[in-house]
């Protein structure tokens, strides 16, 4: 299963040419990325790492799959340590942007990485990138922590005997994930900020409206524009 469908039901295999085109687009952006101080809602002691080295990160994305498979199939602690070094700070940053204090965020980041180890057998590189899979664990951990709204999961699909995943499908997922990172980085700042607030800030659109003073309609249309751009970029 791929999430191609969301972006364009007609999409077949990813095209390297398009990836390059997207890289060129994003390289025209100012390299500074987003300044937390400029955005009260996002302000906090959180560093924005990595936006300057998109290509470097793209290469790493596929590496993490190898580490993850070594954890899953070989219970490899060295590979786990490498995943920890990369992802634990990011999970902590994600939780701090949601308003969690640094100590709690650090504990939760450790919990999330422990869950990654224990549930590694559920990782399917044809369905999600390592970042995406970790994001879902971190999101669920945040929901547990707030103890407010349970979030049931859909029924697990049973595919019958598990075939060995095709390497091309694994590669496709990683490439598309890398393109998505670039497409989000290339969004106009006011649109990207809203997407970040929706995911990190744990804010509803109405709450974003109250905090920013922007009309709800403006927020909805900016998010819609952002999603349209992402879909277009992923064609």
């Amino acid at each position: 299963m791929s999430w191609n469908f969301f972006f364009d039901p007609r999409t077949a295999l990813p095209r390297i040419r398009d990836m390059l085109a997207n890289t060129q687009t994003s390289s025209r952006r100012t390299p500074d990325g987003i300044s937390p101080q400029a955005h009260p809602v996002l302000a906090g002691p959180v560093k924005f790492a990595g936006r300057r080295c998109v290509n470097d990160k793209t290469d790493k994305t596929s590496l993490w799959v190898d580490e993850m498979i070594r954890v899953r199939d070989g219970r490899d602690r060295t590979a786990f340590a490498a995943l920890f070094a990369h992802f634990a700070p990011r999970i902590k940053g994600f939780l701090m942007k949601s308003g969690t204090d640094a100590t709690t965020a650090e504990e939760c980041a450790q919990d999330v990485m422990t869950t990654l180890w224990r549930k590694a057998d559920q990782f399917d590189p044809t369905r999600a990138s390592v970042s995406t899979w970790i994001f879902t664990i971190a999101r669920n951990r945040r929901i547990d922590m707030l103890r407010r709204d349970r979030r049931p999961e859909p029924e697990e699909l049973t595919w019958g005997p598990e075939p060995e995943p095709e390497q091309s499908a694994v590669l496709e997922m990683q490439q598309e994930s890398a393109r998505l990172v670039e497409a989000i980085a290339a969004l106009p700042e006011n649109q990207r900020k809203l997407i970040e607030q929706a995911y990190f800030g744990e804010l509803t659109q109405a709450e974003i409206s109250q905090i920013t003073g922007l009309p709800l309609g403006t927020i909805k249309s900016r998010i819609r524009l952002a999603l349209d751009r992402l879909r277009h970029a992923m064609k």
Binding site: T61, T136, P152, P154, S177, A198, Y199
Partner: protein, 214 residues
């Protein structure tokens, strides 16, 4: 138990809210139930998760020096995996825990005009209810003060927006005024989720609403 002929799907805002973890429990429940039936929306939900994954790549902070050692020390402590429910009858898996069984376990209460409901235990902020509408019966004409999602589990209903059969979900907001009518062939069982009371036109339904908590 995927359905192949689903025509009415979830909206972007709800799918994004499910991925970002910002929905009230009742909405999470109806999304999970619809995704259990609808491959199209399931694929979209994965895409919204991927947006979260892409954003995670850009977040960053620093961990304390001994955090890796602490984590490594606890990796193999015992833990219990949560049991996973599997659907065997008409109700998709996410609903089974809320109902305590399949359709025959639902504790229906009459709310008038032959309609029955069962309110499911969820957090405040939104209400999830199962509705059983007798075949051919019309629900009272109503509008919405907030958002109403209605997912068909059995039978079908029709309103101005179209024909909704098992797996179809209707997304209604403040602009939608409708009179859903259950299909004549069998009773229609739906999961309906609202984040604000409905707005009824007739005075009788308005009084009835107070008692039925609709």
């Amino acid at each position: 138990m995927t359905q192949t002929h689903i025509k009415h799907h979830l909206d972007d805002a709800t799918l994004m809210g499910y991925a970002s973890g910002t929905l009230p429990e009742a909405f999470n429940l109806i999304v999970a139930t619809h995704l259990s039936l609808c491959d199209t929306c399931r694929a979209q939900a994965l895409a919204y998760d991927a947006v979260g994954g892409a954003l995670l790549d850009d977040a960053g902070s620093e961990m304390s020096a001994d955090s890796l050692a602490q984590t490594l020390a606890t990796l193999d402590d015992g833990f219990d995996a949560a049991p996973v429910a599997t659907a065997t009858g008409d109700l998709p898996a996410p609903l089974l825990n809320y109902v305590g069984g399949d359709l025959d376990s639902i504790k229906w209460r009459p709310v008038g005009m032959g309609v029955k409901q069962a309110i499911l235990p969820t957090s405040r902020g939104a209400t999830a209810r199962l509705l059983c509408i007798p075949a051919g019966t019309a629900m009272p004409d109503h509008g919405h003060n907030g958002k109403e999602l209605t997912l068909v589990l059995k039978g079908a209903f029709q309103d101005d927006d179209g024909y909704f059969a098992r797996g179809d979900i209707e997304v209604a907001d403040k602009d939608v005024q409708h009179i859903p009518v259950a299909d004549i062939h069998e009773d229609c069982i739906c999961l309906a989720v609202t984040d604000a009371p409905l707005r009824f036109d007739g005075w009788l339904p308005r009084i009835w609403q107070k008692f039925a908590r609709i």
